[in-house]
């Protein structure tokens, strides 16, 4: 268990989680990006790319707008890749992606908690904020930033504890179960991706673009 670079994974998971809402929002929390980096940290790029890619199918369903609660894939993807690393990704795809989905859903709730804690800090300083007292807004803002840093760190740690628990739980899954779970997450991911694309399309014209892309994709898949 000590062979994994835990500190590097924890730091990267925290950074990716922070990117989700508070800082930058520059694709670092996208599963494909977070997974590739985690794979590089672990020295297993193939697993990082594959696990990141399958979770990306689910993330393509998400529209991270305003007050909505959406899964946090940053630390979740790092944990999923850590679970799969070192073994054949085909066998680990199912269990790793399922761990990622669970942690990501939990991360969605943690965002709500973060917003409520920040609101508590805001209420305490509401009068001073409205009066325009100097430095108060920055203090409230920094409070929110620190809370989100802690939130991201906790989510990364929960994911990595999940990895330790699953790796020590017992023997790996048998081949038919591993293949069946892989099938479930791949089809689940495709369903999420297609569902998100149809909802975003909105107009008939866009649905036409979507169908055109799908036909090109079928041709591409046949050529590969």
């Amino acid at each position: 268990m000590s062979d994994l670079p835990w500190l590097g994974l924890f730091v990267w998971g925290t950074i990716a989680g922070l990117d989700q809402v508070s800082v930058l929002q520059g694709l670092l929390s996208r599963p494909l990006v977070a997974g590739a980096a985690a794979g590089a940290i672990l020295g297993d790029l193939e697993s990082g790319l594959r696990i990141g890619a399958v979770l990306e199918l689910f993330a393509l369903d998400v529209l991270p707008v305003g007050a909505a609660r959406y899964p946090d894939y940053g630390g979740a993807t790092v944990a999923a890749v850590a679970l799969a690393a070192g073994g054949p990704w085909q066998l680990m795809l199912g269990p790793a992606a399922l761990l990622g989905l669970l942690v990501a859903s939990l991360g969605g709730w943690s965002l709500v908690i973060h917003r409520r804690i920040t609101a508590w800090g805001l209420h305490r300083h509401a009068g001073a904020l409205d009066r325009g007292d100097p430095g108060v807004a920055r203090r409230v803002h920094e409070l929110g930033l620190v809370f989100d840093l802690c939130r991201s760190g906790i989510m990364a740690a929960i994911g990595l504890f999940g990895v330790v628990a699953l790796r020590t739980a017992g023997p790996p899954l048998d081949l038919p179960t591993a293949r069946a779970l892989a099938l479930v997450v791949i089809i689940g991911g495709l369903a999420a991706m297609v569902g998100g694309a149809l909802r975003r399309a909105g107009t008939l014209r866009r649905v036409g673009w979507l169908l055109g892309g799908a036909l090109a994709g079928v041709a591409g898949a046949m050529l590969r």
Partner: protein
């Protein structure tokens, strides 16, 4: 009143963390207030500066990449000594359109198009280099867009809405949405084949999988079907079935 370049750069840096203090009550209000602070430094009258700071932390919500437009416009209005009520009205008026435009351009356009493109690139061995290049390019574009917004806001003040609607943004949003539709549409069968073939499944499973995804997607048009919950439930059934068969 002119705003020094150093103050603009500080605002740009602060806009990167616009959402750190997001709450259900004021949403991005406090974050926008913190980002606007450097732009208000030229205000020499202490009472006016205090009132401006008080206004700058009220309710606001828009797409985070377009926060620069609001920060610039509101700061320009304060520096031009526009009445406080008009400034607060502008603040509220900008929220909806900047949110909708940004969501359409970025969350529903550029991001899905970029990630679907990267997925397809992985199938053809794009690897980590493609991801690094795209992330760098994306973030450069993101910062440039925020900096451009800040510039437009500072230049147009209360009339910023007209400047934005006449700019490249609405057209780009329409194109980004179309690009996202094409690329996500193409990525679904390509990524599906990539995963299923490499995990030992044949093309019939791929066809069935895509059909299932389509039915699921169409079913979710009326009322959203939570894909994660369904996947976890299906996985639970698989584990139960295998356990009972053992």
């Amino acid at each position: 009143m002119t705003v020094p370049l150093a103050a603009r750069v500080r605002t740009l840096i602060r806009l990167v963390s616009l959402q750190a203090s997001w709450t259900y009550e004021r949403m991005q209000g406090v974050g926008l207030g913190v980002a606007t602070e450097p732009l208000l430094e030229p205000l020499t009258d202490a009472d006016h500066a205090r009132a401006a700071r008080g206004r700058s932390v009220q309710y606001f919500n828009a797409h985070p990449y377009l926060g620069g437009i609001a920060a610039g416009a509101l700061a320009r209005a304060e520096l031009d000594h526009e009445p406080g009520e008009r400034i607060l009205r502008l603040r509220t008026a900008l929220s909806g359109p900047l949110g909708a435009l940004g969501d359409q351009l970025v969350w529903a356009g550029v991001v899905p198009a970029t990630m679907a493109g990267l997925l397809v690139a992985q199938v053809w061995r794009g690897g980590v280099l493609a991801i690094v290049a795209v992330v760098i390019a994306y973030n450069l574009g993101r910062l440039l867009m925020t900096a451009w917004g800040l510039q437009v806001g500072l230049a147009h003040g209360l009339h910023v809405a007209h400047a934005v609607s006449a700019s490249w943004l609405p057209r780009a949003a329409a194109w980004a949405g179309a690009a996202a539709a094409v690329l996500v549409g193409a990525a679904a069968p390509i990524a599906g084949a990539w995963f299923l073939r490499d995990t030992g499944y044949g093309d019939r499973t791929l066809a069935l999988g895509l059909a299932t995804a389509l039915i699921f997607g169409l079913a979710g048009l009326r009322r959203r079907v939570p894909a994660i919950a369904f996947t976890l439930a299906a996985a639970g059934l698989v584990v139960l079935w295998r356990w009972s068969a053992a």
